[in-house]
């Protein structure tokens, strides 16, 4: 056993950390606060250009696609350092969709699309959810009908977070209505600027914009199909697993808790330094403990992937615990601040730049996003503890 990084991993972490220290300015962090997390402002874009120049776009990608072919542990270190630094994030297109295309796309598709993705010329939006297909994703109804060399797409997606910034939808469509639900789904890359695509905003509590996207007889070349026809469910799950991993990372939350502690140490109310209040100390210690445990789920999962094991249990537990921790740290983190905890971002007196209260408002998303935690818990019980499935849902 070894519960610390190897020297090589530490060197890698320090390299990233140095880079971030030099390049993540308070101005970049503030720009991020002023927008929704998906829309990158000019400072974030410039920053991500630098990241690309470092060759860090595809750390886990095979070298043939310009990646570094690195281990999952190193990818995870990279992710955690970025979060800890409150740096602009490398989008899902690069972290989970491009790898899916690399793994299942045709040679032509890879040759055509991957370089453009790397260049940032193509950005993908995750087109899964529909009004009647949330948890029950396989129930999706957006249909793609083959007409000659084209798919003709009709339907509606919702909670389409990247719809307003992406160039294409990574769209899950029904391509065979006559087979069991999971078996008639395909993934098609759909340019958002094509005729018949309409993007309408949904504004959310967490200040994040998401979208409804409508498809009205949108015609797309058949070559935009990802992998094989009717195997889209498998690909979607592949990408989703990577997303769950992502949700399980709570490095940013750990950083916030430390900032909360700093606030508590420097604030006196009713004659007592807040960090000396026994109950406050207890609450912080409890949160800290959960954050540590959650970290182990993620590290264990990463290490297992590098050992060619599939860490289902570890990833799901990390997803459930991590997502619920976000709400807890947002909630209890503001609670221990007393009256200061009811301030919102952009208020003169708000502690920790409002990042804690914002976390509370963003947190719900992670609990139902990437699969509701209720379903995650079912799966843990059934797959990891081998409890019978019958009638469970």
């Amino acid at each position: 056993m070894r519960f610390e990084f190897t020297e090589d991993q530490i060197a890698w972490r320090d390299k990233i950390r140095d880079f971030l220290r030099q390049n993540v300015t308070p101005a970049i962090q503030q720009e991020k606060r002023n927008s929704d997390p998906i829309t990158n402002g000019p400072l974030a874009k410039a920053f991500l250009e630098k990241v690309k120049k470092k060759g860090w776009i595809g750390i886990g990608w095979p070298k043939e696609y310009g990646g570094m072919g690195e281990t999952m542990v190193k990818q995870f270190i990279f992710l955690e350092e970025f979060r800890t630094a409150k740096a602009p994030a490398i989008g899902m297109t690069l972290t989970s969709l491009a790898p899916t295309i690399m793994s299942v796309g045709s040679d032509e598709m890879k040759k055509e699309w991957i370089p453009k993705i790397v260049d940032g010329e193509i950005e993908l939006a995750l087109g899964y959810s529909e009004p009647d297909a949330g948890s029950d994703l396989a129930n999706l109804k957006t249909e793609a009908v083959i007409d000659g060399d084209e798919f003709v797409i009709n339907g509606q997606k919702t909670w389409n977070s990247e719809g307003h910034v992406a160039t294409h939808e990574f769209l899950a469509c029904r391509t065979d209505p006559d087979v069991p639900k999971h078996k008639g789904i395909s993934i098609i890359l759909v340019p958002i600027d094509y005729p018949g695509v309409k993007v309408l905003p949904i504004h959310t509590w967490g200040d994040v914009r998401t979208n409804e996207v409508f498809f009205d007889n949108v015609r797309v070349p058949r070559s935009n199909l990802v992998g094989n026809l009717n195997e889209g469910w498998t690909y979607a799950m592949m990408a989703l697993n990577l997303e769950r991993f992502d949700i399980g990372s709570i490095a940013d939350v750990r950083r916030l808790l430390i900032e909360v502690v700093d606030f508590l140490k420097s604030t006196t109310v009713d004659g007592e330094v807040l960090s000396k209040n026994t109950i406050v100390r207890q609450r912080v210690a409890e949160l800290y403990s959960e954050l540590e445990i959650c970290k182990w789920f993620a590290y264990a999962a990463a290490a297992m992937i590098d050992e060619k094991k599939f860490p289902m249990k570890e990833m799901l537990m990390g997803k459930v615990m991590g997502s619920e921790l976000k709400a807890k740290v947002g909630d209890i983190g503001t609670q221990v601040m007393g009256l200061y905890g009811q301030l919102r971002q952009h208020s003169k007196w708000v502690p920790v730049n409002g990042d804690v209260e914002r976390l509370f408002r963003v947190a719900p998303l992670f609990r139902f996003g990437g699969g509701t935690n209720e379903i995650m818990r079912d799966i843990i019980a059934q797959k990891s503890l081998k409890l019978p499935r019958e009638g469970a849902r």
Binding site: T204, Q335, V336, G338, Q342, S347, K348, F360
Partner: protein, 375 residues
């Protein structure tokens, strides 16, 4: 033992329910919150006419003001309908004056508040003072029979709409029980400046700086040096009433969520039929049902003049966590839609966060309760 509202209380509750359904739409609330708009005069006039701005000037009163139990019935509906907080800060100030104002002040101010002609708010807390007035730094100096108040107040509600502020200031330079006084200060006085805070609940709160503000001696509420007692008594009342408000809000969240999960179908069945979902709902219902009794018990004991420190802290500790946790779980059960600004849930989540902290967090009140248990 009798857990039924009286006919009068039910009448108030029912008329409030009808009034709010018509006059306090969610669109109106959004408009108020998003643009920091003042509540319209017409609305205020109507609630004055309904008699909701009048509080009893004494406990065994024959006047027409609302009793605490009537206020409670009203507050439950206010919570359900997300009544703008200017109502609460006005009632708090009226209670404060009714509790301890002198006869002139009661005669002058209470009818004016009740008629909707003036609004008053309380400016007590400071950057370093939430509960313990011994640490108050705002000072009032007396020169030639006039007071001059200087200091910094934080988290002062509804200064934008208030005509007067009741300001706590130190009149003795020690931590005696008689060192602090309450001043009724005209908001237009020279030397007062305001800076709005951006709050989680999107309610109106401000920082208030007082720089040598001149106040006539007859503007001391009650007697000089009695602020601690007055504030304690008023806070007891407003805390207990707030608990009922929170119960009303939480009940509405449960109703909203139950409605949604009965209709939302996934995997071929309403998600409300899943056992895990039902158990979440049962937890929420139990927490809030329990809160209901403790909150009304606190108000009831207050109104009966019985000892109630234990009951108020218990009620606030419990609902303080329960309301917020109910909204957190409601978000989970709603999935995406509950997260959308166009849906109403987040309005309650905002209020739950604010009220969980306002008048003391749950942890603060558990410690007060432990005091009361003699520990």
């Amino acid at each position: 033992m009798d857990f039924n509202l009286t006919i009068e209380q039910k009448m108030i509750r029912d008329s409030a329910h009808k009034f709010f359904a018509k006059e306090l739409t969610k669109e109106k609330i959004r408009e108020l919150q998003e643009n920091n708009t003042e509540i319209e005069e017409g609305f205020w006039k109507k609630i004055a006419e309904l008699g909701w701005l009048g509080v009893s000037s004494s406990q065994n009163s024959s006047d027409e003001g609302l009793s605490l139990m009537e206020l409670a019935a009203l507050y439950e509906e206010c919570g359900r309908s997300l009544m703008p907080t200017v109502f609460y800060s006005t009632i708090a100030s009226a209670l404060c004056i009714a509790n301890c104002g002198n006869a002139d002040q009661k005669t002058e101010l209470l009818p004016a508040i009740a008629d909707g002609k003036i609004k008053v708010s309380m400016a007590i807390t400071e950057p370093q003072v939430s509960h313990d007035l011994n640490y108050l730094e705002t000072r009032a100096q007396v020169i030639n029979g006039k007071y001059y108040v200087s200091g910094q107040k934080l988290f002062v509600p509804n200064t934008n709409t208030a005509d007067y502020l009741i300001v706590a200031a130190r009149t003795e330079d020690n931590t005696s029980d008689t060192g602090i006084s309450l001043f009724l200060i005209d908001k237009a006085s020279e030397g007062i400046t305001f800076e709005a805070l951006n709050t989680f609940g999107l309610d109106s709160q401000s920082e208030v700086v007082l720089d040598n503000v001149e106040v006539p001696a007859d503007r001391i509420i009650g007697e000089r040096g009695t602020a601690k007692n007055i504030i304690r008594k008023t806070t007891d009342q407003t805390t207990a009433l707030q608990c009922v408000e929170m119960v009303g809000g939480a009940k509405e969240v449960i109703r909203m969520t139950a409605d949604y999960i009965k209709k939302r179908v996934q995997f071929g069945r309403p998600i409300g039929s899943f056992q895990a979902v039902q158990h979440h709902m049962t937890k929420m219902a139990m927490d809030i049902e329990g809160s209901y009794y403790t909150a009304y018990n606190a108000v009831w004991r207050l109104s009966e003049g019985k000892p109630c420190a234990k009951e108020i802290s218990l009620a606030k500790a419990w609902i303080g966590n329960a309301y917020r946790e109910t909204t957190i779980m409601a978000h989970q059960l709603h999935g995406g839609i509950g997260y959308a600004l166009e849906y109403d849930l987040h309005l309650y989540s905002n209020r739950a966060k604010t009220t969980g902290i306002w008048q003391g967090t749950s942890d603060y009140h558990y410690q007060k309760l432990a005091d009361e248990l003699g520990m």
